[in-house]
């Protein structure tokens, strides 16, 4: 393999996009308002597109003739390395929006740095994805504020969403020898400021939304190491259904 750390890093990015895109696609036809049905499938489409670019490139780096479909649709559960946050069920619209917001607030500063990667392909993917992610963050922030500062019911619901999902947020900042190695090689720019930027975004939005950051700071993690939640196997059984039922065919 040309660069195992880069391969593993690309899988992390690609799997996050793929799994969140898959989750958002479940909303299609069932959104609370037609405009939001369109918005959620639009974001899903962006994320699936990002996953295709990232996983195709991961396959190139790996050099084993695996493209985005082989990597995206034919790995075993523990080989996926997305964070637990993105695989959490859609729940109600508030849960979906909160999950999206916590993720977008992380993805935007991340892509803003990755556009400066010395790896031209990764930088190009980040550049394209950043444009999309800015819109995603704008959309999810506005809805968090609208729901938080809307009615009593919406406030209570979205506060519950935050209480449930908050414990998954920290895994977004998980790093290990993969990031360390890529930083030394100069492929990854300095990513250290991302968490502070994320914190400042979420604090601002939650204060506008009149939402309280939970005191429960217990952190769930495991996705980056291939240890997922119970929901994940069901998600994969849909995602992989056709590839498993009709192996080795062109579609």
């Amino acid at each position: 393999m040309k660069n195992e750390a880069l391969f593993r890093y690309l899988l992390r990015l690609g799997d996050d996009s793929l799994i969140l895109g898959q989750r958002l696609a479940e909303w299609c036809g069932h959104g609370p308002i037609l405009e939001e049905d369109i918005a959620m499938t639009n974001i899903s489409l962006d994320l699936i597109g990002q996953a295709m670019s990232l996983l195709d490139y991961a396959g190139v780096i790996e050099g084993k003739d695996r493209n985005c479909d082989k990597l995206g649709l034919l790995r075993y559960e523990k080989e996926y390395v997305n964070v637990l946050l993105v695989e959490q069920p859609n729940g109600d619209f508030g849960d979906t929006i909160m999950r999206q917001f916590l993720f977008d607030a992380f993805r935007k500063p991340l892509y803003e740095r990755l556009v400066n990667s010395s790896d031209k392909q990764l930088a190009a993917i980040a550049d394209k994805s950043l444009k999309e992610t800015r819109y995603h963050l704008k959309h999810s922030s506005e809805w968090v504020i609208r729901l938080g500062d809307g009615t009593e019911e919406s406030h209570e619901r979205v506060q519950n969403s935050l209480d449930t999902l908050w414990r998954y947020a920290d895994e977004l900042f998980y790093t290990d020898e993969v990031e360390a190695k890529l930083t030394v090689e100069g492929i990854l720019p300095d990513l250290s400021g991302i968490k502070a930027e994320w914190e400042s975004t979420v604090k601002y939005v939650f204060s506008e939304a009149t939402l309280e950051i939970p005191v429960n700071n217990w952190k769930f993690e495991g996705g980056r190491k291939g240890r997922h939640s119970e929901h994940f196997g069901h998600l994969l059984s849909e995602l992989q259904y056709m590839q498993r039922a009709y192996p080795n065919m062109e579609w």
């Binding site: 793929l18 898959q22 696609a25 479940e26 299609c28 036809g29 069932h30 959104g31 609370p32 308002i33 037609l34 405009e35 939001e36 049905d37 369109i38 499938t41 639009n42 899903s44 489409l45 699936i48 597109g49 996953a51 295709m52 996983l55 985005c68 479909d69 995206g72 649709l73 109600d92 619209f93 508030g94 504020i145 609208r146 729901l147 500062d149 809307g150 009615t151 019911e153 919406s154 619901r157 849909e238 995602l239 259904y241 056709m242 590839q243 009709y246 065919m249 062109e250 579609w251």
Partner: protein, 315 residues
Amino acid sequence: MKVLETTDLEQKFQDKIDREVKIEPNDWMPDAYRKTLIRQMSQHAHSEIVGMLPEANWITRAPNLRRKAVLLAKVQDEAGHGLYLYSATETLGADREATIDDLHSGKAKYSSIFNYPALSWADIGAIGWLVDGAAIMNQVALCRCSYGPYARAMVKICKEESFHQRQGYESLTKLAQGTPEQKELAQDALNRFWWPSLMMFGPNDDESPNSAQSMKWKIKRLSNDDLRQNFIDATVPQAELIGLKVPDENLKWNEETGHYDFTPINWDEFWQVVNGNGPCNKQRVDARRKAKEEGMWVREAALAFAEKRKKKQTA
């Protein structure tokens, strides 16, 4: 000032239509014309929205990521058409939410084809090819409809539908030229969707009581049977080209008429499905009703928030 009698107004209205001048929202129009359009346009909008459901059912299981992205984009287009058509209906004074409630109460209909289930991935190709194909036949004619907003909406919508039809055919072609399992999926999809697609054009002309008035008003330009025949003539060669068999033993080219002959349609099935006995009628309307009910708190929150911000600004 001369007060125009209703008959004068009606005469002027019909003159305009005869001269191919578009009727616009603020123009005088007979009540029956307005009502006919509201009914037809809102049902068209409902069809776009309900039509998302059978296809959305396969997005999470699409066989590869390219097909998933294409299907997402396609279903999103349908949602956009729905929005566009609801807005066009509002130019006639109808309220969007009220027309949606009519769908949920069963008062308003939508295209019956969506009461059939999408059972395999091949159905997604068949729906694009046949259902969007049949819809285009209808909608191309509607681009010349006498009501301006509807006609203009159709121009945009037809461009996208034509793309959908081609992607459906391309997707099914891939299966028809694939492994034996894939061919079987493709043939099975055609077997199930062929007759319901022909029913999409509505009853035979002599059984379609509102058609004559709609033709006179130029809401409708071609008869149900003519559109159906055009569709069959265009589609049969496409099936043959990719080696699929149209499930009609009596289908054959008629040199004399220059059209295909075909078996009469089973109208009993058609009316059963229209009247609620299709395989998915209940499930489709339930899904739409559930989306609206479960989304109520979101809409209320958005309204309350907008109200709060307005107050803040004026304070």
